[in-house]
Symmetry: C2
Subunit: 405 residues, 2 copies
């Protein structure tokens, strides 16, 4: 395989129809940012939007802004915008709380739709908070238990005792993506529901929850949606469940009429009942600013460029970094929008890379993870990143040899 040249990378950037989107973000000089799958960068529109919310809406409007500035509707309004990225109807998505809290809500709510079944089925090695929350949910469900099985054994493990299958759609380490429609069908055939964690999917891969027969999903605002550190998360509940589903965390902002201050809880219409406490207005404003960008984006071009960035990274790494073991599926439809490699010295290699201004993630024990975010990442940057990665791998090998000497 002949090495990809810097000129070839630049030529790809010239042909990139998404290149102008980079200007929509404020990125620091001297940094190649391959961690937008952990914390998306700052949209250029966000500082002014936040300043407006803080100085005008909070500072001048004060309490009146709950009604006059649309704060009360923000959770469903932003949910409706996110719905477009999920292939969902606007009334099926609400923004609320964190992904962890939302997992708990939908695990308990989903399992209660299947009374008599005791098992929440999860994938062994999935993101820890998903597992912790499944155990917490099982603890509060009658006879509840968690079964954690390997990816390849999941479908066979769905049985008549399975209330809910809970899966990260795209795996946080490997990037491997589940076939959503097939998994939903397998679960439904056994009478179970599926709850998808879309944290590494929303804004990363094409989604069509409605067409896939999805029941329930949660996802994250601060990764590919660029909503800011610790941004509020989202909840999706398919319309078919709106009549039956109840939230296990019935706070006043999920009430049909919170300002009636009624003692009896009456959930709001549909997914809106999954709001809970007072809406986090500042976090919502930053999230909306990030989500609004997406409304003008050609998502088909995003997902195509994601595939091209992956192919470029993988090919160049195969050539320049022979010590790295690619652990992400090569087929575009079988993965998300990050690329991961295993290496015994992954931790020190990532520290070296970060010192070089190339920011990815280390995930223990041995994973190097790089987010591929087409809105603001170019091919020249990937070329420079893989060059740096090759240098860091070589430096690590030299250090290892010195240690052995």
């Amino acid at each position: 395989m002949s090495a990809i040249t810097l000129d070839e990378a630049r030529a790809l950037d010239k042909r990139d129809v998404l290149a102008p989107w980079r200007e929509a973000f404020i990125l620091p000089q001297g940094v190649i940012y391959l961690d937008g799958n952990s914390l998306g960068p700052l949209p250029r529109t966000t500082p002014a939007r936040l300043a407006q919310v803080v100085e005008r809406e909070w500072g001048c409007g004060l309490i009146r802004s709950w009604t006059d500035a649309g704060w009360l509707e923000a959770q469903t309004r932003i949910g409706g915008k996110i719905a477009r990225l999920l292939g969902a109807a606007p009334e099926e998505v609400v923004v609320a709380d964190s992904t962890s809290i939302n997992l708990f809500k939908l695990m308990v709510a989903g399992a209660r739709l299947r009374p008599g079944r005791r098992t929440i089925l999860i994938e062994a090695g999935d993101f820890p908070t998903d597992r912790h929350m499944a155990e917490a949910a099982a603890r509060v469900l009658p006879g509840g238990r968690v079964a954690a099985v390997a990816r390849e054994a999941l479908v066979d493990a769905i049985d008549a005792d399975t209330a809910l299958v809970v899966l990260c759609h795209v795996h946080y380490r490997s990037g491997a993506r589940h076939g959503m429609a097939a998994m939903n069908a397998a679960a439904h055939a056994a009478g179970a529901l599926v709850l998808w964690d879309l944290s590494h999917s929303a804004g990363a891969v094409g989604l069509d929850l409605s067409a896939c027969g999805a029941d329930l999903a949660v996802g994250c605002g601060y990764k590919f949606l660029n909503g800011g550190p610790g941004a509020p998360a989202f909840v999706y509940v398919a319309a078919q469940w709106h009549g039956a589903i109840e939230t296990p965390l019935p706070g006043w902002f999920g009430h049909r009429a919170p300002f009636d201050f009624a003692a009896a809880y009456e959930g709001a219409e549909g997914v809106a009942r999954f709001a809970c406490g007072t809406a986090p207005v500042l976090g919502l404003a930053a999230l909306e600013s990030g989500v609004d960008l997406w409304l003008g984006v050609d998502t088909g071009a995003v997902f195509a460029k994601s595939a091209a960035l992956f192919a470029f990274f993988a090919e160049m790494a195969a050539d320049r970094c022979p010590d790295l073991a690619l652990i992400t599926p090569v087929q575009a439809g079988a993965r998300g929008s990050h690329i991961s490699f295993a290496h015994p010295q992954a931790s020190s290699i990532m520290a070296d890379l970060v010192a070089r201004g190339i920011i990815g993630d280390f995930r223990p024990p041995d994973i190097l993870r790089f987010g591929l975010t087409p809105l603001y990442l170019g091919f020249e940057e990937v070329w420079r990143a893989v060059s740096g990665l090759a240098d860091a791998c070589e430096a690590s090998a030299r250090n290892g040899a010195n240690h052995l000497a």
Copy 2:
């Protein structure tokens, strides 16, 4: 009773040692703000602090700011600052989620410290979200039930089946304050714990949770702490329970080592395990800015001025607004820092007041509520507010008379 004059109000403002604090807030022209107990106003320091977090820490620091800018420690750091206002040790308070979510956490966690007891005892007519969450908590506890009894019957209702007494320390409508030490003692004598909702207490009245033998508490960041709309809330767990208590919502940010990504949940030390999902950095920054103001305040002067503002308001209203029925206890130690009146036309009177630039709250069916916030509210403003209130009451009476005519 002779009417209080505007000159007398101005004289009180001249002697007010807290008067300079008003400059610490940005308040709109033409507004008298008596709703800081619902949404505190904007501290003058907050816009710049938020801009720094957004533009420098998020925009330039990106993912590195979790460690470099202290984001990871923010929840315990701010908790430690709030602890000073609560009479608690720094390691007993953490900031996380919303008051509603935190109520659920501590209701379930507290009741689990008293296995075999089934009852969560609440006060009838307390804030709705507290009741909704008690019902949600009871549903997930073995044999759990909620008993809602009238204020005066609470102590007698604590029995051998009571796991937890959950009370709003200061009532959101009447402003009536429970005797915290006595209630804790009564509950402990019966083997129960008490969970206090301090939403209308923190920053409003003197608190000494340690000296009162308090077990558990939650509270709100966006009222008297001026943390911004929907600010993160706080959790207090007395040190004596740190060894035994478990969170029912074990998210990764409450884990001892979240970045080890271990499948097994191990709670962080003490109250820190009550963090859950990824920390909401923007909301935390605004909250910290509000809380930091409090660190320089003479709280004794605040609570003394609160009492003086109340006496001023009550006396002038008794004189000028004979149709209003004061429903807040007159004794300073028996209430919070708001004053409430009942009036059959409360809703339209408050609408009239707001149109006059005098902002308080209507609480159905018939309550007018006014927050008394000594850091930025002066006696002249209260004088003008009560004058406006008198005019609004008279207008309402005239309209009523016209209706009857």
